[in-house]
Amino acid sequence: MKALRKFLDKVKPQFEPGGKFSALQSVFEGFESFLFVPSTTARSGVHIHDAIDSKRTMTVVIIALLPALLFGMYNVGYQHYLAIGALAQTGFWTIFAYGFLAVLPKIVVAYVVGLGIEFIGAQLRHHEIQEGFLVSGMLIPMIVPVDTPLWMIAVATAFAVIFAKEVFGGTGMNIFNVALVTRAFLFFAYPSKMSGDEVFVRTTDTFGIGSGTVVDGFSGATPLGQLATHTGGDLTFTNIVGEPITTLDAFLGFIPGSIGETSTLAILIGAAILLISGIASWRIMLSVFAGGLLTSWICTFADPSTYAAALLSPIEQVCLGGFAFAAVFMATDPVTAARTETGKYIYGFLVGVLAILIRVFNSGYPEGAMLAVLFMNAFAPLIDHCVVEANIRRRMKRAKQINSEEVKL
């Protein structure tokens, strides 16, 4: 490590103002602080600081995303081999490799585009490179269908990073969750590649792996997609080859859907990591689930002939679609969520309520979690405003009381 440190010290002057590569100063500093903890010491105020920094915070979130990501990769392969009827004779590692190769380009594209813009932005403003996009860049590939073209992801990521984040001042200043803005952009700009029956299961080969022809009776509709088109009485979800699927399948994640969202189990492992490490707010997570379960229960009293989702039990509602993923990874984004402790309960609860309401009562959008979180992002400042005003009112009332007592005296 000493040699590396020496090398960095040697080349550092060239990146400083006036040096040969001064245009890359932010990038150099970004890599330097990535390799070595900055040795800057306190100038004012406290002389000792907590060892936590935003790099470590973001790293923990990425670790929490890994179970869902890895399962998502496996499930991409699983759904593919199921579609071509070759699941039984394909080994675990082949299935995983297929999914890995299908997902990896998306991760690379999201990071290259997003971090590229961040690097340029940081250098233009002579800022340090901030870590926020490390998480966003991981979230983006996990919330898109496997067959979304890479160029669309690139365009949407660029749009989101520039217009949802950089124009507001960068990490910590954005109003809307960057990953969800990416998804919303894709959803409204290219709806045919973000929903429907065609995009959630890859039927062609990936880099030459897994070629085959789709079995008869194949339908790539997700359970929520089936729900949106369901009419009449009893509802049984089927998988892509027409076999019925149970709630357990949905909980474990062997259903078609966006890459990272299908396995509620893997998401719950991520939730455990976030909560045990104290990075995410348990208040938000708990209240999203509370709001979702309560609303689902109320919706079971709706008329199933008009609203087919009324046939689902609350447990099925939270296991299907992106609800759990949104609750654990999207709603808890500290920057765009409510920031007051009381506000977090309200914010989370309303995210849960809205996600289910959109799902049940708006047949145009089979999935409501994305819109619910974005909508509440917009309302989080209002919720906080009310909490802050309550605090201010307490203080003003106290002052008034004392003033009026003085007048009496």
Partner: protein, 453 residues
């Protein structure tokens, strides 16, 4: 029945180098310096020049805004230098001690008889007024404003706090403390509250004050936290805050008729070979206090007057701050380069975060943190961090944002008049975004004072 206030929020840090009471060796120093910067809110006008002979209690400078508020020499001797910096700002006044111990005689006073006006004048003439601070603004108290109440803090639970110095309040310094508190009680129409951490000590306080017991981690010892829970400051009100260790000075003045600014000072921190206590007066050179009581090492060190959270950095050739009873020495850490520190399990790091393994191990007191910030400054990203260590009904994040934006109405509404920079020390420690919160609050208070006056 003594009122007990329990605070749940706070910062419990245990670090290496706590001072052990010994024989409290007196530090004899050839020189003593008065540093005007110690006295926040005071605009110094120097009244001595090099060569002047002074006694302990002779004025060295006064406040241009309140000419009766003076700072006096703690020892007798000769003024050897008045050092000035940019724009002729007075940096320090150095007095060479002659060891004669001559003192200005202010006359022994009976605290029960002395008139409040006479007491005020005496405290200002004897240079003890600067130990009275006021809220709002956390500055040296304005002598023209009568305080609603007076708050005295009589314990300290910051890391490596000089506990022994506070223990003396209940034994050898108790008489002076009692007289000092009685004197304070004569200066206000309101009450004198004394914040203590053990019920038993309430019996060693005079009847004219009201003891309040505080149970909780740092910053429970801060005047701001205590007064917030006892009787918060509203807009337009002024209260005084004092440290009980400084009240002892007032008691001694009345009892002896002359000033005696001797303090029991903790010499602590992981860089100190034998953390111990000495006695010294404010302005004693740090080098004389620490001496050769250091662990042999080649790396840079940081000398702090006060504790690691609220203290001020002093150079090795600096001086003990007027308000502090503690010199802390820790490693600077600027030569340390931790490889991939953000990804390491962190068995021995000092952190409140559960992302480090050390948080899951039984708490130990052998961590020796250095002065590194451990990261880059960011916008406020994480929410609710400050609230966990801020035991007041104030929204710290919103107040900080209002200060940064300098929105006066908002600052008033969110409680700026109740806080001092030190109240944000725990928040600054835990802050993932590494913002200089105490500096932000200090600047905000100074600007606000300029706007309001």
């Amino acid at each position: 029945m003594v009122r007990v206030i329990k605070l749940k929020k706070g910062l419990n840090l245990c670090i290496e180098g706590e001072a052990v009471p010994g024989n409290d060796k007196p530090v004899t120093s050839g020189e003593v310096a008065v540093v005007p910067d110690n006295y926040v809110g005071l605009l110094p006008k120097v009244t001595v020049k090099p060569g002047d002979k002074v006694k302990a209690g002779s004025p060295l400078l006064y406040d241009k805004n309140h000419e009766t508020v003076q700072v006096v020499s703690p020892v007798s001797g000769e003024v050897v230098a008045v050092e000035r910096g940019e724009r002729r700002k007075v940096l320090k006044i150095v007095v060479k001690a002659d060891g004669a111990g001559e003192k200005v005689d202010f006359g022994v006073q009976d605290v029960d008889r002395i008139a409040p006006e006479a007491l005020r004048d005496l405290l200002q003439a004897a240079g003890l007024w600067v130990y009275i601070k006021q809220r709002p603004y956390d500055i040296v108290a304005d002598p023209n404003v009568a305080p609603r109440d007076i708050f005295v803090t009589a314990f300290d639970n910051a890391p490596l706090a000089p506990r022994h110095a506070y223990d003396l309040l209940w034994s050898s310094d108790n008489r002076a403390l009692q007289v000092g508190l009685k004197a304070l009680a004569r200066l206000t129409q309101g009450k004198v509250y004394v914040g203590i951490d053990e019920e038993a000590n309430a019996t060693r306080l005079p009847d004219c004050v009201e003891p309040v017991v505080f149970k909780g981690a740092f910053p429970a010892c801060n005047a701001g936290v205590q007064l917030h829970h006892i009787a918060p400051v509203n807009k337009g009100e002024t209260v005084w805050t004092l440290c009980a260790l400084d009240v002892v000075f007032i008691g001694r003045l009345l009892l002896k008729g002359s000033i005696d600014l001797t303090r029991t000072v903790a010499v602590c921190g992981s860089e100190v070979a034998h953390p111990t206590y000495v006695t010294a007066c404010p302005g004693t050179p740090v080098a004389d206090i620490v001496g050769d009581n250091l662990v042999p090492a080649q790396h840079h060190r940081r000398y702090i007057s006060g504790n690691v959270l609220t203290g001020v950095r002093v150079m090795p050739d600096g001086y003990l701050d007027a308000y502090h009873s503690q010199i802390t020495v820790i490693p600077e850490g600027d030569e340390t380069h931790d490889f991939l520190g953000w990804a390491m399990p962190g068995l021995r790091v000092l952190s409140l975060s559960r992302t480090f393994l050390s948080r899951w191990l039984p708490s130990r007191c052998d961590s020796n943190p250095d002065a590194r910030i451990h990261g880059g400054e960011r916008a406020i990203i994480m929410s609710g961090e400050y609230d966990k260590v801020f035991p007041m009904d104030i929204l710290p994040e919103y107040l900080i944002k209002a200060i940064i934006a300098f929105d006066i109405d908002r600052m008033e509404q969110l409680g700026i008049y109740e806080v001092a920079p030190e109240d944000f020390a725990a928040c600054e420690f835990v802050d993932t975004s590494k913002l200089p919160l105490q500096q932000i609050v200090r600047n905000g208070l100074d600007l606000l004072r300029k706007e309001m006056c």
